[in-house]
Amino acid sequence: MAECACNCGEDELTKQLDKIIDPYRGQPGGLIQVLTKSQELIGYLPKWVQVRIAEGLGVSLQEVYGVVTFYAFFSLIPRGRHKLSVCAGTACYVKGMKTLIKSLRDVIGVKPGQTTPDSRFTLEIVRCIGACGLAPAMIVDGKDVHGRIEPEQIPEILEQYA
């Protein structure tokens, strides 16, 4: 069963999940919005969450699972506290994305798609984040953009994220 980052316990988490589902009850069209908010709450989308959403919106579990696995944004497994998303746009590729990923791997020791054993970082490759002027770029936790990254700057950047 899921653990919540704030240690509030499963029941509390279920209550909060129901609050997300409530405005969309019986409306299959709200599925992606509900999944997005639920993942923000829990960090990923384990089976019990998908079951509850399916029942709430009145769609089959198969459809929920189909949507979750279709979109890159949704995850079935827990992720680290900080998400390191390396941009794989063309500009970043031309300007040294491969070297950036290799250097990140050397520092944190995991491959793209994996999470460090201490759950601190998840490394992933994302589609163009539109910061092409700053290539090669990485976005941390979906909001902090770091641009023109040189390999030797990596430890300093990662230090900001405990």
Binding site: Q33, F70, A91, V94
Partner: protein
């Protein structure tokens, strides 16, 4: 908003307050500092510069006489953070927090420009202080980006001051729905998402389609790698998109709009969300807009990371909360769109053109550009080029002008090799075609496409086999898997190109790639698959020698590909 007079009153009041941004000194204010707040400058920490400037203003006791405004993207991302100080229109670049004091104490208080922060053209001794004189901007023509230097994207009154919502007022009060569609048709505006279909015709089909309610949709799922034009419009001028959509709502008889934005653009979503709330507050969305009995509202839908959702039928499925898988057309969205109802779907940049066309007229718009491609196009310049960022130019401008005059050429004295347009659906254009004027037809003729406007410059160190492999890898990963030509065909192509880049290429591989490419082009279900082979075909067409070198000599002249021992 109940009348044109009410709008005019807000416009006049606000315009008075913004005169300083037109270069007219003010009696009560010393300066307006327009700090670029595009995603590029924000990641170069422009907000720290703003904080430092505020601190310095307070220290000098003039905080109430200077406004600092975070604008949308100004374009020159690699010079960021950049700012323009009005009324002098002085352009400063590469600002650091420690520079804030000099700008406040020297420029704003004493009227002396801070020389070391001014822009200098490559090779020039003297700086170019005024923003309009800078080579990078001088060749541009701003229609879609008309507001990006001028307004605070979070202020609806700033937008109104620069004629915002006047086009909606005109459309509702003075025009008939058929007249609006006629005007858009006459303007020659074509879809800026890349395919280039006539927007006016699309509206006409939807207006005549049977079924209600009808919908208006904005495609903001800007997925092409290397493209960030839509992002800068949504961040810098969200009201222009809202206004364009509302005008279309009137023209086709729709009351509901959806804007689909990708989750990778959090700032765009935030600004858009705020703009929609403000528009409702001012009665520019909602019921009985301008007292014309017209109701219209907009909801945002956030994409969840699937490139194929930029394809229109897939996007419509995604709005309905389903897997974003494309379906065959016809029926086109004009007849069966969101929830199976008639729907107009246009791209962000297309929408932002609409208010100007309605306000200034189709003839004005049609006078800009080439015979078949009217108006301007925004490009996102990136890669191995001196000036990276956003540029807006009239259709018909040549690639050479964009790369070498506006873009400032290739850094470190390297040789230009190719420019890639159209993302994974486009192609690489070599030096011999640099004098091609940009329009939908001519780019197609040389094996690329307009696409949404990403333009990646490559120099002599870029291996074209590796670039083709990069795009194939992208397509293989993003293929939704519904049709086999795309799902299996692109994978087989990837395997062939992968072995070529490993030094294991075989005689006949190039021919096999071409054969597969032609089959996929003619049999794939949607635009993603049909155009997926373009990067490979165009690199074979212009850089076949590089493929042959990899296969026969087991050599990568650029030292990019790693060969197996």
């Amino acid at each position: 908003m109940k009348s044109l007079d009410e709008l005019a009153k807000i416009r006049e009041n606000r315009r008075e307050a913004l005169k300083i941004r037109e270069g007219i000194p003010s009696a009560t204010e010393k300066a307006h500092v327009m700090m670029c707040g595009g995603a590029g400058c924000i990641s170069s920490k422009c907000t720290d510069v703003v904080d430092a400037m505020k601190e310095s203003l307070s220290k000098n006791g003039i905080a109430d006489q200077v406004q600092i405004i975070l604008t949308g993207c100004m374009g020159p991302c690699d010079m960021g953070p950049v700012a323009i100080v009005y009324p002098d229109a002085t352009f400063y670049r590469r600002l650091k927090p420690k520079d804030a004091e000099a700008i406040v104490e020297e420029h704003i208080m004493k009227g002396n420009m801070v020389q070391r922060l001014l822009y200098r053209s490559p090779g020039a001794k003297e700086p170019t202080p005024k923003v309009d004189d800078i080579d990078l901007f001088a060749k541009q023509k701003k229609i879609v980006l008309r507001n990006n230097f001028y307004i605070d994207p979070t202020s609806i009154e700033d937008y109104i001051a620069n004629n915002g919502y006047a086009a909606l007022g005109k459309a509702l009060v003075e025009m008939k729905p058929e007249g609006i569609i006629e005007e858009v048709k006459k303007s020659g505006l074509r879809g800026r998402g890349g395919a280039g279909f006539s927007s006016g015709m699309k509206w006409g089909f939807t207006a005549n389609a049977k079924g209600t309610p009808k919908y208006v949709v904005c495609n903001g799922d800007e997925g092409d790698p290397g493209a960030f034009m839509d992002r800068s419009v949504l961040e810098g001028d969200p009201h222009s998109v809202i206004e364009g959509m509302a005008i279309c709502g009137r023209a086709i008889g729709a009351e509901q709009g959806y804007i689909y934005v990708r989750a990778e653009y959090p700032l765009a979503i935030e600004r858009l969300d705020y703009a929609i709330k403000k528009a409702r507050e001012y009665g520019l969305l909602g019921n009985d807009i301008f007292g014309a009995g017209f109701n219209f509202d907009i909801e945002i839908r956030i994409g969840a990371g699937a490139f194929v959702c930029g394809e229109e039928t897939a996007l419509l499925k995604s709005i309905e909360g389903k897997r974003g898988e494309p379906r065959p057309r016809p029926p086109f969205p004009a007849n069966a769109g969101v929830w199976g109802k008639p729907t107009v779907l246009n791209n962000v940049e297309t929408w932002a053109n609409i208010p100007e066309i309605i306000l200034k007229g189709a003839d004005w718009y049609a006078a800009i550009g080439t015979e078949k491609s009217k108006g301007t196009k925004i490009f996102a310049l990136a890669g191995r080029i001196n000036n990276t960022g956003i540029v807006e130019v009239p259709m018909g401008t040549t690639l050479r002008e964009i790369v070498f005059e506006i873009g400032g050429g290739i850094p470190r004295k390297k040789q230009f090799k190719a420019v890639q347009t159209g993302g994974p659906s486009g192609g690489c254009i070599p030096a011999e075609h640099l004098d091609t004027p940009i329009d939908y037809e001519s780019l197609g003729e040389i094996g690329s496409m307009m696409g949404s406007g990403g333009m990646i410059v490559m120099d002599e160190d870029t291996c074209m086999v590796d670039i083709a492999k990069f795009f194939l890898d992208f397509v293989v990963d993003e293929s939704c898997g519904k049709c086999s030509p795309c799902r299996i065909g692109t994978k087989r192509m990837y395997e062939i190109i992968d072995r070529i880049s490993n030094g294991e290429g075989r005689e006949g591989d190039i021919e096999l790639l071409i054969e597969l490419a032609n089959t996929i082009e003619s049999t794939a279900l949607c635009g993603l698959g049909q155009t997926a082979p373009n990067p490979v075909l165009s690199t074979i067409r212009y850089f076949r020698n590089e493929y042959e070198e990899h296969i026969k000599d087991k050599k990568c002249a650029c030292n990019v590909c790693e060969f197996k021992e």
